[in-house]
Each structure stands twice: as C-alpha cells, then as structure tokens.
Subunit: 195 residues, 2 copies
Amino acid sequence: MGQIHLHMSMSLDGYIAGPDVSVEQPMGVGGERLHQWLFAEPSDAEDDVVAGEMYSPAVVGAVLMGRRHFTVGIGQWGDDGAFGMPCFVVTNRPATPVVKGPTTFTFVTEGLDRALEQAQAAAGDKHVNVMGADVAQQLLRTGRIDTIQLNVVPVLLGGGTRLFDRLGPTELEQVAVVPTSTVTHIRYHVVSPPG
Amino acid sequence: MGQIHLHMSMSLDGYIAGPDVSVEQPMGVGGERLHQWLFAEPSDAEDDVVAGEMYSPAVVGAVLMGRRHFTVGIGQWGDDGAFGMPCFVVTNRPATPVVKGPTTFTFVTEGLDRALEQAQAAAGDKHVNVMGADVAQQLLRTGRIDTIQLNVVPVLLGGGTRLFDRLGPTELEQVAVVPTSTVTHIRYHVVSPPG
C-alpha cells in the first residue's frame, strides 16, 4: 500500500491560506502569494524532482480533501478537475460524484477513516495526497501521515489558516531540502506521531 | 550603522520555545529539542558560514532582548554570560548592570526605541542581534528588522511561544538556504514591513 503524503505551500509564519477564504478567493486575502513560485522561472532539475514527484500521477494515485477545500477550489480547477485522478471528499452532506475529465470527486459521508480507506484502495500501490489543514491535522493527530513536504514561501501572511495547529509534539526526520530562488522545498518523514 | 538581525531556532510549527517557560526550564517543555542541532556532528563549511557569522563577535556588536528572556536565560549563560558583548535588556524595572566576564547586561527602562538606539550605538558598524519573540514582533511590526535567519528544526512542538504572531503581511526575500542533516538554515531580507 502507498504512503499518505501531506504536500502544501506554507508561509514562513505557518499559513496555507490568508484570512477570509471564499469561493471568490479560495486562497484567502493575500494567499495567492503562496502559489507565485509555481509561475516563476523554470527551476533546476533537482527542484523538479522534489516538487514534481509528489504531484505526479506516476507516484500519486488519489487525493483526500475536506468538503470546504472542494467547495472553494472546484471553481478554479478547470474542466479537467486539475488532479487527473480519483479524489475523495470528506463531508456530512451526501452528493453525487462530480466528474471533470480524468478527475472524479467522490463524496464520503462515513467519516475520515472510511474516506482514507477508499482513497488508499483507489491509489493502490501509489501514494495518497492529503489537502487542507483540517483533514491534515486530524490525520497527523492519529499518526497517519507518513511524509510532509512543505514549500516554504518567503512571506509572512500575518493571518489565515494555520497548517499546524492543535497538535501534540511530533518528531520529524528531515529527508530532503531543495532551495530554489523563490521558495524552499523541505521534505520530512513523520517519526513519532503526536502523543 | 549595522543592521538589525533576528536569528532564532524555530520548530516547523513556528515555536521558539515550548509551553511553560520558567527559570528551571528556559526553553519550555520540550523546547530544548530546538537546540539539539548545535550539538550534532560538526557541520560542513557552508553551514559554519551561515550559522556562525550571525553570532560571531566579528559581525555582531550587541544584543537586544526582553526582560523575560534575560530572567529565564541568565542562569544558563554561565560565568562569561555567553554573548561576549554588550547586551541591552528592555524592562520596566530599573536594575544595575550585570557583568559576566566580557558580557554586560544593561537594563533600559526608557522603552524599546531607546534600548535599540543604545544597542546600535554600542554595536557601531556591526549588527545588533534581537532575541525573544516579544521584542522581535514589536520590531517587525514597525519594519525595523533587516534580516531574519531561522534554523528550522524538524519537530512539531505543538504549543509554546510562536515567533511570528500578531503581525501584518510582510514580504521577504530568501537570500540563503543551507541544509544540514539535522536542521535547515534559511536567511531572509525583510522587503516590506507589515502594513
């Protein structure tokens, strides 16, 4: 079975979105700054390895996200749904699947554990990518994230959604650091889950 | 005149000390983890440059800190006071200077601006190093920090003292990244102060 990966762009002060996230502004006020590095000059080969492999359909087989992440994001993800793989949305509201080209969004109302099971089954030997702070924190709290990769963006947002919040102490192992001119990619293995 | 530098070890979740900081436990519960990298195997030359130069008396001429930082730290700083240079402590309580070998601690009751002036005067052409979250945030808020260097430690503390809190949006420029096996050093210039 593949691993569970958390891969996010985070400001130096720990935010993955600015304040006032909405359908009109899915990254919150000022939060688009966190994605600027994606549009910078083509990066070196090493960067492509680290940043690319964790999104590549060759490596990642499914995505797991919260309902809010889906709701504010879907308008931005285009006709192909951006991910190109099965996506599972944890929600309390039943809904029929949304299909956007090669991307399918399946709504799971039986809780996070069941959604994760479904994502892992769909991913097969590949990894599951977790999106959004709420789902990430729930999985971190119970030791179910294997790898954390952060794109640390040189900005202080000053407010918004914190990636790491309401967690216990967790030991990590730094396994790769790839700086580019606009961002620093750092990858960690989770050694001990929050106690 | 030299620059104002902020140089701290920070957990990946943004803490520079664990919960319950006290004289007995100056780094708070679990906070000593943030300094483990200092006792790791000798690092490579590049690391020495980045980590070393911002503490070196050849480059740094004075230290500015809050009273609480002094109070919980002084017991740990040994007979030589650790810093080997003039240190200025912002406080409301007048106190006579404390001399520990080559290190002097001068208590400034006329406010942070005056303490910073005194530190800059003492530093001459060298930099002033700022210590502690409270003083750092006050100076960041008014755009008076020139350079931020963080030793990003692969751990989530889950609670304690956050380095970046109650700040406005601030653009940074990433100027150096030096990974070692146990920590990642990242240096930023502050481009625009909080608005």
